[in-house]
Symmetry: C2
């Protein structure tokens, strides 16, 4: 069972993270989770609660699930949890468990800035407060942001395999598109070709299908968040794609640039090639700065400095976001220390996290952007994508 | 656009409900709503927020949406809202709007007991508190349970049409199943037949497909929440189905009983027929008690009394739940005043709400249960299902 592989790996990792973050107990509390899923539930339980239920993981390594008796069967079958079914009300089973664990801190899933760490509803937070009222644990509740950043960000081996597969498939589809490309193809035709690949593999796009891939054909194309249009690519222009797929619930995300040569042209114009190299150099600088312990804004800065030193305006977004079950995942963020990014760019990068490294510049050929994906290793980083090193030509298939 | 029909109807209804419930302003506040949807968002906005955004409806009839500029386009296209896009942070746009509205009460979506009224995350609740800190509105926040019970429970004309269609289709499929039935069919074959109907109509089951329909063949079948098995129905036994479909996002939910006669038998055994009539009479008593202003537990009581007066043990659940976008919807509940049901059975029934009326008894033929659906009218109720009046025979097709 692949699901329980993930749940086994992530619950083990959670126990380690509780130790690192000095948190005694971590509760994921939900109900009707098919309709209102906590983003952490697929990672640490992999099953749904119809009635109120909780996953209680402790620093000491206990993995307890308290749930209504009808919800218990599937969870017991996982063989991973000390399952405590209740009949009437969750409260007494909870009180009993919390006395056994006797925690000084109880982390629960709320965060003002990170939606992946904010799966607890306010009503259930009040319910939990009510359970703890008058007990010695009343002041123990705290936000689980740090725990979740550790558990969700640092990918397990099964998660890494799936992300790599999602990367490999997206790259394969893009290369097939390039080899099959016809000058008569519109942006929409390019998207349709990639959708056909995706459907043949019975997988999904990494974000809303009508916008994945983003395809922009040439300098006159709409470089905003527009859907692929009927525009075709003129000679001497650049085709840009932003694309990703989901493989067994894990995403990829990359941007690629292709050039449609003028007749008889053997390489792109020097000025275009030079702009391309500037983007590539900035991405390489970001990649080189990526290592455990660095704060996200430092990585962003390394790339941003290359861009400005080479005379381009700063890119108007962060250099890279995490990728996992969501294509834009939470936790540490490779972004500048702008107010809109809150505390995320100050978070330290950890081994096992997966980031995009992406940026673009506005040129006479339109928006030239590249996006790679990299995994943080023990002492640096390694690319998951095969980084784009040349502006490959589009030639009639 | 059918979506904006619903949104138009429900936002108008919300304004009326705010007046009735003495609430000045109602805020639905979300972000990443494709991943973490507030259950009310499809009703009162019908679009998603990627960035933090809110729907602010007021007693005076204002319909304001504050959202990030990239989220604004689709919402502006609805033509229903005063859309206020922000670039940097939601806070100042929110502060400006709240001063204009100047509310004494601001209802937000949290509830300890009703998940359909508990779509606000604790992190966003804290964010909202932070926005209001030091203003005259700091103590204005309150739970929107009553507002949501009114808006979600009382169905608009478009909602009623869809629910009726979901009922009609489920009934049609069940009758086709009955006419096509073969003695060799297992529980799983019965389910497969209904799934085929569903797939042909490109609709969905009302709950998890592997458990919808529930099919139990005879007294020896597993009458818990088991998946359809390879068991066939012996002669002289009863086939029970619990089934519903989703039509354009609205559900149906019903239970039906069929009898497979002994050879030469022209009607069910008198004792079975009598038990069937007892269930039918209790359901009819519940239906007769259903009218605006009655509290849910009174309706439950009417049916429960018939069952106990006729010598059967009480059924171990409430008589009926609401049906809408979820097959078990929130708000008023036709249940006994047991602790596990909290305040819901004390809530008054309103015109336009749609309930199941369902109960069963344990007999020598197994669990005999029926489930109908009814809409509350101005002075009583009307069935949406065609109530089961006889134990129809299963005969070889």
């Amino acid at each position: 069972m692949t699901v329980s592989n993930i749940v086994r790996e992530k619950t083990d990792q959670a126990v380690e993270t509780l130790e690192e973050t000095n948190v005694d107990a971590w509760i994921t509390f939900g109900r009707d989770t098919a309709d209102a899923p906590d983003p952490m539930q697929p990672l640490i339980l992999g099953e749904e609660f119809i009635w109120p239920g909780m996953v209680l993981l402790t620093r000491g390594g206990r993995k307890i699930v308290i749930c209504e008796s009808h919800d218990a069967g599937n969870i017991q079958d996982l063989g991973l949890f000390d399952v405590r079914p209740y009949e009437e009300s969750l409260e007494s089973a909870f009180s009993e468990a919390i006395e056994e664990v006797d925690p000084e801190t109880i982390a629960v899933n709320y965060s003002r800035s990170d939606s992946t760490a904010d799966g607890l509803s306010h009503g259930l937070y009040l319910e939990l407060e009510h359970y703890l009222e008058g007990t010695e644990y009343h002041d123990a509740l705290t936000g689980a942001e740090d725990v979740i950043a550790g558990v969700r960000g640092r990918k397990s081996s099964t998660e890494l395999e799936r992300i790599q597969k999602a990367v490999d498939l997206a790259q394969e589809f893009l290369e097939q598109m390039r080899r099959s490309w016809q000058p008569s193809w519109s942006e929409a035709d390019v998207a349709a070709f990639l959708h056909e690949q995706i459907d043949d593999h019975e997988i999904e796009t990494a974000w809303e299908r009508s916008m994945c891939p983003v395809v922009t054909a040439g300098a006159e194309a709409d470089h905003g968040h527009a859907k692929p249009s009927s525009r075709t690519l003129p000679r001497g222009e650049v085709l840009r794609l932003d694309f990703g797929v989901v493989y067994e619930e894990y995403c990829s995300d990359m941007q690629r640039l292709y050039y449609y040569p003028e007749e008889g042209e053997t390489s792109p114009p020097a000025e275009l090639q030079s702009a391309f190299e500037d983007v590539r150099a900035a991405i390489a600088a970001g990649f080189d700065a990526l290592e455990p312990g660095v704060e996200g804004h430092e990585v962003d800065r390394a790339a941003r400095d290359v861009i400005t030193e080479r005379g381009w305006p700063e890119f108007k977004h962060g250099l890279g976001h995490q990728v996992g079950r969501r294509v834009h995942d939470g936790g540490a963020y490779l972004g500048p220390t702008w107010e809109r990014y809150g505390e995320a760019p100050y978070r330290e990068v950890s081994e096992g996290e997966v980031f995009t490294i992406e940026l673009g510049i506005e040129t006479q050929w339109g928006y030239l952007a590249q996006e790679e994906m990299a995994r943080v290793t023990e002492s640096g980083a390694t690319y998951l994508t095969e980084p784009q090193r040349e502006l490959k030509p589009l030639v009639e298939a």
